[in-house]
């Protein structure tokens, strides 16, 4: 039987400015996260993702609604909630005056680890995130990417059942991004619940078992990653290769009203909404062009996301 790690019910958060109408950052949202799940909270800037994370991590109280983390209420049992979580926030939050090793030491102490446990875990995460060379360097001397590595590495330093990662891989190079993704998967396999926000939808698609998409403080889609992607079953991605692309073909394809269309010297990539439009595009390519190769696939999470968030602004990009 699955255990609910996080439960959010009718959550509302309003910000009250001076002499202003309250800004509703979260508008009656509800979702559950199961234990061991990698849950993606997605949405454009200002959608309410960070506000939701702040409430879930007890940084700010909700205006109304109920939120429990590992069975503990964020309003009435904030300390119990904090005992169950580990958080990577958007900022490169490191203790800049002290060394990388000392950052781990203090973090471990805050989480009640013994000196021996800290030493053992430092060895492990330092290897995992390639921090050995900078271990005795002051954190303020590290590059932005390195600071991010240190911050994320701390998450894998403790065994809290729930991890929150707010744009965790931002600023990391590809090698460390891969290491972080692998580490997140491994932790979930061990039974830790991971909540992440990211604007890298490929990453979310690769990592998440479940997704909730927010826009203007409301949930516009939610479910398993497969279920959310199914919303895009009527979206098709085409890659067409030609010897030469004629103006006539270009115009004919534009009449299919693609969500997205890019033309290079000998290839056209386009995203269309209907099954029939995909077939028509192929047919037109054969009739009006010298089609040499083609590829057709269903939509990626990114396409679904764009359709949900920005559907009305679908554009053609010649």
């Amino acid at each position: 039987m699955k255990t609910t790690a996080i439960s959010v019910s009718h959550l509302v958060k309003e910000y009250h400015g001076k002499n202003e109408i309250p800004l509703r950052a979260l508008d009656d949202i509800s979702f559950d996260v199961q234990q061991g799940q990698i849950f993606g909270l997605l949405g454009p800037n200002g959608a309410g993702k960070s506000t939701a994370i702040k409430i879930l991590t007890t940084l700010i109280p909700p205006t109304s609604g109920t939120v429990t983390v590992n069975g503990c209420n964020v309003v009435s049992q904030p300390l119990e909630v904090r005992k169950n979580i580990c958080v990577v926030l958007q900022e490169n939050a490191v203790d800049s005056f002290i060394t990388v090793r000392q950052n781990f030491l203090t973090f471990g102490r805050f989480h009640g680890l013994t000196k021996m446990e800290i030493e053992m875990r430092v060895e492990h995460v330092v290897e995992m995130f390639g921090l050995r060379e900078v271990l005795n360097q002051q954190a303020m001397e590290l590059s932005g990417g390195m600071k991010r590595r240190l911050q994320v590495a701390k998450t894998f330093f403790v065994n809290t059942p729930i991890i929150f990662l707010d744009e965790a891989t931002t600023g990391m190079d590809i090698h460390n991004k891969r290491a972080t993704v692998a580490a997140i998967k491994e932790e979930a396999r061990k039974g830790r619940t991971i909540v992440l926000t990211t604007h890298m939808l490929e990453e979310a698609e690769e990592l998440c078992n479940a997704i909730t998409i927010l826009n203007h403080g409301k949930i516009i889609a939610g479910g398993t990653t497969g279920e959310v992607k199914k919303m895009g079953l009527q979206i098709f991605y085409l890659r067409l290769k030609f010897v030469e692309i004629s103006k006539q073909l270009e115009e004919a394809l534009k009449h299919l009203h693609p969500m997205k269309m890019e033309i290079s010297n000998s290839a056209i990539t386009m995203t269309v909404r209907e099954h029939s439009a995909a077939l028509q595009a192929l047919s037109l390519s054969q009739t009006h062009g010298s089609l040499t190769d083609f590829e057709i696939s269903t939509a990626s999470l990114e396409d679904v996301f764009l359709q949900l968030i920005d559907g009305k602004k679908a554009s053609v990009q010649p």
């Binding site: 700010i60 904090r82 979580i85 900022e91 490169n92 939050a93 002290i98 000392q102 030491l105 203090t106």
Partner: protein, 253 residues
Amino acid sequence: MTHVFAVMYRDALIRRTSLMWLFFDMAVPLLYLLMFGVGFDKAVGMGIIINGSTVNYNEFFLAGVLSMSCFGSAINQSYGFFHDRETGIFYEFLTYPMTRGEFLLGKVLFQCLMSIIQVVITLTAAKFLLHIPLRFEQVPLTVVVVMVGIAGWFYALATGAFVIRRNDTFNTFLNVAYFILMFISSMFYPIESLPPWLRYIAYANPLTWHTDVLRYLTIGIGELATIGLEIGGFVIFLALSFYFAVRALKKAV
């Protein structure tokens, strides 16, 4: 207490990274006493009449120096929140498994430990360099009162740091607070010599209460009844400061 110690440990690590910072933390009260105090002592010459007793300026100023160092330590410690907020680590702290009260207690206890060294250095210099007749039997109590003073001012200023989110605005706030609280108090001169309107403000100033208690403990000047009232006043000030600091910290995000 694990988390309180963790906060203290972190502050100790940070303080250790700057020897100049550490030196000034320890030496500022001493330097004030030796430079400012000695200069004024020569200028005043005949001494100061307070509560019917005549004391030289060094004797009078010793309590002011101790009180001033408490205020200064609290300023330094509260300033740290701005750096932590800029780096983002401040917000991460607030997600650690500790209460807001434990976080603030750790901060103040570390500063209190530093103050013990400050007090020892200052009192040693007062006794052996300036030959101030100290009440040695009251030294442990003096240390306690210094700690209480640091706590009171730290919580009050921390409240300001959490509410005022801009570094430059906080800086202005501190300059004004520093100016008003220090100069309208019994720190530099007996308040009996002030004009009545200033005297009443000085009587209501917690810095006066703290300085008077320290003066009573170090050189025995002051009326016990007044000192008792001032102790009570400062304890209420400490309790209110702590309450508001925790409250402000809860809303600091």
